[in-house]
Amino acid sequence: MMGVSLEVKSISDVPREEYYASGHRTCAGCGPAIMCKLAAKAAGPRTVILGATGCMYVANTSYYLTPWVVPWMHTQLGAGGSAGAGTAAAFRALMRKRKLRGEKINVIALCGDGATADIGMNALSGGMLSGQDFLYICYDNQSYANTGIQASGTTPWGAWTTFTPPGRASPTGNVRLNKNLARLVATGHPSVEYVATASIAFPFDFMTKVREGLAVDGPAFIQVQTPCPKGWRFDSSRTIEVGRLSVETGSWFLYEVVKGDLRLTYRPRELLPVAEYVRAQGRFAHLSETDIETVQKRVDEACREIGLAPSSER
């Protein structure tokens, strides 16, 4: 099933139909909203979406309304993996028992980083182990944005959040090093055949990965970086630009792990200094030059580990 045919190479491969329509309460310039739109386009009409509590639940389906064209259902904050596994189990059983007919139905759990890396870690791991056929997409905006920007398990070091405000006694902001979710899933769940990272700033790459993840007969996981203008504090027009900077500075990698083998799907020609990414965001405004050097060092290490030449070594 997996292969070239699933690839979205250019805009002409992007379906024109919208399955996530206009009319939702997401921020102007919302990164996760772009993710919803692209993921739904990649998956197509025979898809069921399960949305964990978070912005993409509260902002999308506010006031007893919906922007979804395809079936959608809310799941509890810590239940993305369970929702995916439960729904997929139902479809598998019903189709096998001929109580439900027709083509395969894609099941996607759309959960934020808090819902995935923190409260939903159990359910994520359980879902990945379940053998059920669903795709778990973690849209990672690196904070609990819906509740007003609190630190989550993927909030990067040094970031301002309302739980990690830089102050006189504690000038750095967030001092916890973020969890490496995709690697955690890939390393810890050998039966998961497809794990990937993506970014909305690289939409064709992301859409291809959604299709690859759905094509696997079993659980698959994608962590997609979705810059958040409210939480990261940048102008709403810069969402894609900040996402691109993240990848081009080596602060975020695009890779896939197919049956255990990691492969970068995009290699920046020449990595930019991390300061360009950090200085583009208000949440890092309090960081000193030394702090940024610390960040650069960490990024360099990560680059070396994954096989990219760090920007400082050029």
């Binding site: 009409p45 069921v48 506010s62 079936p71 259902m73 809310h74 059983a93």
Partner: protein
Amino acid sequence: MVRRVVTGVIAIANAVKLADVDVITAYPIRPYTGVMNELARMVADGEFDAEYVIADCEHSQFEMAKHASMAGARVFTGSAGIGFAYAYEPIVVTASDRAPVVAMLGDRTLDDPGCFGVEHTDALADRDLGWIMFFAENAQEALDMTLMAYRVAEDARVLLPALVCCDGHFITHVYRPIDMPESEQVKAFLPPYNRQYLLDPDRPVSIAPQVGSSGEHAYEFRRQMVEAMVAARRIISEASEDFGKIFGRKYPPFVEEYMVQGADAVLIILGNMSMNAREAARQLRAKGERVGVVRIRTYRPFPDVELQKVLVSAGAVGVVDCNFSYGSPLGGGIVCNDVRSALYGFPRAPPVVDFFAGLGGREVTVEDFIGMFRILLTAARTRKAEKNVYWIGLRE
């Protein structure tokens, strides 16, 4: 009809198989685990076809069940004690999403102290969340109630989850003879699960969106739930009658009465303890004392009218509470306070006495029940209870 000697958990597993359940979500906790062990074996042996999903905790287990149900599958799950408490969040939303999940609860003491003796607090603490609650007395009834639970829960006029509560040890782990229903009978009794709104790409809907937070909609949904419970009363009666016709075992839908005719003292009880209570009543009746027992089979919807009918003419009413409700009105248990509410306002309402008994799995003997009846008979004579609450069998 085949007669077999099995434990309560095996009996329920057979009900699940007979109901042709599509998805089972499992997580272990004593004393309910046996039902999942048996179902795993049945599925592995190909005795029936279901997706058996192993969950990572009760929260996931009940969430999986809810979502599978909303995707159109007939679902079985279950838990016990503190495990059910761990699933509190999914328990709330399963009902409000109107997912007719059927779960077995092996009633067990809530931690701490860790103890898997029976207590009903695990179920009763969640009595107000929109789950239909049945309390079985023995393995046969547990099997039958499970079939009933699917019939009632999945009825389009109800669409609420249902819980079959079974006392730890006394039902879950004791071998008893049961009549195994035929699958043809079950087919005649239980129509396929079919609902109007579910996760179907051919008929897309959004389920459980956020509603406005300044009071626009949530209130109406609360009222709907109340109506579903009202409908459940009707459907439970209807289904009980059908059950008797098809399977030949007749159950009163809500309360089972024993020797209550002209009784001065009536004990109200849930679950397996009713066996000893009935024996105590029989012995006292033989001595000329007018005592009887009422066993509540359906706790939600609460059998208020049925209890009123039986109890207003009684001299005194005792409620056996195998649960706790710290700081409650008059220090009573959960069942006692519900019974009192149901009787309030009746001009000749009898005094109501609460008997805590059997907590933590402590045995309640026939003699214990005779003692309770004696207290009640005194209260009936004086039309006044000496104390509101008695702790039976407690080391003072």
